[in-house]
Chain length 245, copies 2
């Protein structure tokens, strides 16, 4: 298996996604929120790169059954129903709904991976589920695409990517060929202790704490809370298409 | 001090260099070769981003006293006098000469930093000299700009950047504010052992070994062989302007 890690989407050309399994990692908070919404019975999620794309799409759907969610600079977008905190995506709110979802980094990484063979969403919440899915799918070319923060490395995504690389390597028979990003992230992940502390000390974690989202940091640092692997198929995430352990 | 590390130049906008001390790190091999050439008495080095820029500049200078050096894909450029192996830049070859120098990543990072307050070249060969220079200059904003490899993280630059961050933090009085890249690289550097092994196992190290440059890997992994800090002033590196311990 060729297993490469990219620190953020500007490392990664759309062409490079072709034929690969791409795991989009946005710990704070797009991947975590999507996994949580899937667990809480959302009917489908439509990730879009821009706020404009989201508002264009809205009138084509049944407004009563549709939610607009996402953030810019960590904050609620004007006119949107929901922000990007997992805490907002309870079963009561999302069950049976379509969610149009746009965030600063995560949904950009998803749309950039459009030509991939398979696109998965990964975070600490579903770490083992994603690793197990990749290993059992016998994918030959896997890219861990960290969402990063506006074209920069994000500590929490890089470390989570390193955890994924480590679990996939340990569970794969035969040789895995890692790129430098995967080697660096894996070594870093093995050198670090408390994930909660990683999230709290990261640049985006500090920003979210300032905005009052401390509870999200604790929530998003839980390893293997969920067994769901969100899969983006034809630009949509439908829980019935997602893998569950 | 604000101390940020960028995994490669596409992370870093020209605007961001303004008012900062930028340390360009290209271990394999531009920074290492430049430091070595300075130690061996080169009169000045003119780093240029493209081969075209190099060949345009050549007729404006005294050909007998000028050398064209650099690489693309690790290999000698047709019509150039020298490649990018430090071994080619002996005192006999470079003493008293002007060197026009163009490489795939390192000189691109240098030219992208043009608006910086000060541009330094760093690698393992001059690690402590660079850290000491930055600390004693009392710079307020420092950027470690890893050259990377064609828009990707390079293990050897990221680790060397981590070593620089660690030395600068340890030697600075008062608070240093690190970005996520700097935290990740520093933690990784502290977790790794043998630098020679880092270089040999890195993607670019493996490529250079295939091309027969094994000796360069050993040479470029030597910590603190030299006390010279090359400084780019008005687009030129003149050893007389460079800092020496």
């Amino acid at each position: 298996m060729e297993l490469s890690l990219y620190t953020h989407p500007s490392d990664f050309s759309e062409n490079q996604a072709k034929g690969k399994t791409v795991i989009v990692v946005d710990v704070l908070r797009a991947s975590s929120t999507i996994v949580h919404a899937c667990e809480n019975g959302v009917e489908r999620i439509i990730p879009v790169a821009s706020v404009e794309d989201a508002t264009k799409l809205l009138p084509t759907l049944d407004r009563k059954k549709t939610l607009l969610g996402g953030e810019r600079a960590g904050m609620h977008i004007e006119g949107f129903d929901l922000g990007n905190s997992p805490a907002e995506y309870s079963s009561k709110v999302v069950k049976g709904k379509t969610l149009i979802f746009s965030t600063s980094n995560g949904t950009v990484a998803i749309t950039k991976s459009a030509s991939a063979k398979e696109i998965l969403l990964g975070c600490f919440l579903n770490l083992s589920a994603v690793a197990t899915h990749v290993i059992s799918s016998r994918a030959r070319k896997v890219a861990v695409l960290c969402a990063g923060d506006l074209g920069r490395l994000s500590l929490e995504d890089f470390v989570c990517g390193g955890y994924l690389v480590d679990r996939i390597v340990n569970g794969t028979r035969g040789t895995t060929l890692l790129n430098d990003g995967a080697v660096a992230a894996r070594t870093l992940a093995n050198a670090l202790g408390d994930i909660g502390e990683v999230l709290r000390s990261s640049s985006h974690g500090l920003h979210l704490a300032e905005l009052g989202f401390d509870d999200d940091l604790e929530f998003c640092s839980r390893i293997d809370k969920y067994g769901t692997v969100p899969i983006v198929t034809d630009g949509r995430i439908s829980p019935q298409n997602c893998h569950r352990r």
